[in-house]
């Protein structure tokens, strides 16, 4: 089975503090992993994908196949980072299904 787990529904950090949103996956093939973000009253949008190995808005995520994790990190949280974050997995070996975690609501406290 393909599963994406985000253990934290809610996460609060102070402005300037480091933030880590956890994501673990279960997948029998080679995973394609993504982080999506939804700001208040906006559509769900792509934040970053593991294949690009890029930093977007100061966020990075490293795929750890040994731990089957794809945690999202930012060294210094900003108030504008407050949003809902979803981890997602593209299942390329079983019908191209796109699985999402249940999401983590991040609040950055000023």
């Amino acid at each position: 089975a393909q599963r994406v787990t985000q253990p934290e529904k809610l996460l609060s950090v102070f402005k300037g503090a480091p933030v880590e949103l956890k994501c673990n996956y279960s997948y029998s093939g080679s995973p394609e992993l993504f982080w999506y973000v939804q700001y208040s009253r906006q559509r769900l949008q792509l934040l970053l994908r593991h294949i690009s190995r890029e930093s977007i808005k100061g966020f990075t995520a490293d795929l750890n196949k040994g731990e089957t994790s794809f945690h999202l990190k930012k060294p210094f949280a900003q108030e504008e980072d407050s949003a809902m974050y979803y981890c997602a997995l593209s299942a390329t070996n079983t019908g191209n299904q796109f699985y999402f975690g249940t999401g983590t609501s991040l609040t950055v406290i000023p």
Partner: protein
């Protein structure tokens, strides 16, 4: 178009009525997905279309739910005999091709309220 377009943006209906939700994907995108977003439930997969292949309907919660995609473009999600538990935001997404690293592009969603 510039992005995935969904209509209506809001729909209020009485329990027992049928509703139709429309999705217009990005031009040229071959894959189209429907999800349901409820508070505390994350994104629940409903159905997926890829080109002319048979759709993956494995996520539809009951036979009251159905979807079509005409001409490989516009899709309509139909909910018959709506129930209060159908209240949610229904999201449509498309991607240029399946497999690999192509991400989903989402619409703004349709907020359905069943009274």
């Amino acid at each position: 178009g510039a992005g995935v377009s969904q209509s209506p943006s809001n729909k209020v209906t009485e329990k027992g009525k049928d509703v139709e939700l429309r999705c217009d994907p990005i031009s040229g995108h071959t894959a189209l997905y429907w999800y349901r977003q409820s508070l505390g439930q994350g994104l629940e997969f409903l159905i997926y279309f890829q080109g002319n292949s048979a759709p993956d309907k494995s996520g539809l919660p009951s036979d009251r739910f159905s979807a079509e995609r005409t001409g490989g473009s516009v899709s309509t999600l139909t909910i018959q005999r709506t129930q209060q538990e159908d209240s949610a935001v229904y999201l449509c997404a498309s991607r240029p091709r399946t497999g690999g690293n192509s991400p989903l592009h989402f619409g703004n969603g349709t907020r359905l309220t069943v009274t």
